[in-house]
Assembly symmetry: C2
Homo-oligomer: 261 residues x 2
């Protein structure tokens, strides 16, 4: 076991902090995971943890149990506080190897429901959508032209680790549409300009629920290539719901239909 | 029209900044509203704007049109930046009078769907829930024992002004349950311990969808007093969805049932 890290200028501390930047994540092929729940999900999914760091003064009982199962490097509270990106930390953070998100490695069942996202900008939204996709029983999430990468620490946090539990593929819009069409998935693009209600979609066979970016919605190829354009009906005075909520309404409608059969 | 405010230590600037604190909002009975969309919703709802402030250098074309309809006090970019609590501002902010949220003034139709929230902690969640309630056609939102007040600037922001468009009542849990029961509303409490699926609830008559706090869910009175305990079904490996998502799934299920009739 390595010596305890006590300095906030320690090289490992600097490395962890640097991984909040996408450029550094892309360059090193690594990312950070904080929190016991997230780390448990990561180890369940066989994500490679390069180094785990712990802070005795902050570790919750659950964290202590988790830490007893693997090697970790001890940190002083001051050094750990520099690394932590949470409001309330449970005293565990790790550097992990980025996992494979190639579409070629993505093999959901042909009758699955998938969530497909175009250019989601806010890490919190992307994480919430992954958590919701997992809960609603979606078999995978396709991120087309992501504006925020799936290894962003706030994606990991907002997903509560669902980012490790739900199969993910990262690609571009053209490739995603070709793949979905080629694999027999219906493309249900959500848009205020849609003409079909969520409950009029037949989710019995393979279906991709498609949701666009917070600021500009779906691009033209997703509208042109859709099996149906779906509009979530709004009350008269309302103008919109957020993108994560739209994904949730669609995915749980699919879950409802499938639970009935 | 008052002289332009150019100093960041101006008394009005300090007042606006102080209203980010609940204590100051409670003491003065005022709150702040930033953004054209939010201010338009506020004026539509006859919220009293005590003073409107504008920054010419930041004002969007939409903001200029809005500002042409009322008196405003001009601010320098530096002074305005001190007041603004947004990432991207459209150059308009106002001090407004808190509106009536007494249960005695809350008169939804007896067959309405209501959203009822207990002790929601995060302003972003509370705002998202109000936006979703408005979109899904709920006739009002009851906030029982709120941990964050509805006049928090981040509630206003996350709601995109829905906080002004959807009727609101703030009260305590005991009074809320008495009121709902006395007015013939079914109480559908969402909990992981529930035994009914959202789509097995009959939303044809007056119904309150009840969602609890992010950290601890619903308190015992909401479980004991419920017409049914509703569990949003989750896939095996998932453990939860966030509170706002739970509210959205329930409210849009009610909307689905009501659209069919």
């Amino acid at each position: 076991m390595a010596d305890a890290i006590t300095s906030t200028t320690n090289a490992r501390v600097k490395e962890i902090v640097s991984l909040r930047k996408r450029r550094e994540r892309d360059r090193t092929g690594t990312f950070i995971i904080e929190g016991v729940r997230e780390l448990e999900r990561a180890t369940d999914a066989k994500i490679e943890l390069i180094e785990v760091f712990s802070c005795d003064d902050l570790a919750s009982p659950v964290a202590r149990t988790f830490l007893s199962t693997l090697d970790s490097t001890s940190m002083s509270e001051k050094a750990f506080a520099k690394c932590s990106y949470r409001d309330r930390s449970d005293g565990v953070i790790a550097i992990a190897r980025q996992f494979d998100t190639a579409l070629g490695s993505f093999h959901p069942p042909p009758d699955a429901v998938l969530l497909t996202l175009e250019a989601i900008e806010k890490p919190g939204n992307l994480g919430t959508m992954m958590r919701t996709a997992l809960a609603a029983g979606a078999a995978g999430v396709i991120c087309a032209d992501p504006a925020t990468d799936v290894f962003n620490p706030n994606v990991v946090r907002a997903s509560l680790g669902a980012v490790f539990a739900v199969p993910l593929a990262v690609t571009d819009t053209t490739t995603a549409i070709e793949w979905l069409t080629g694999n027999g998935f219906g493309i249900y693009s959500t848009t205020p300009a849609g003409d079909v209600e969520p409950w009029s979609v037949d989710f019995a066979s393979g279906a991709a629920v498609v949701v666009g970016s917070e600021s500009s919605g779906l691009s033209l190829p997703w509208l042109d290539g859709a099996s149906a354009l779906v509009r979530i009906p709004m009350a008269e005075r309302a103008d919109s719901i957020n993108a994560a909520m739209a994904a949730g309404v669609m995915l749980f409608e699919a879950a409802r239909q499938r639970a009935k059969t």
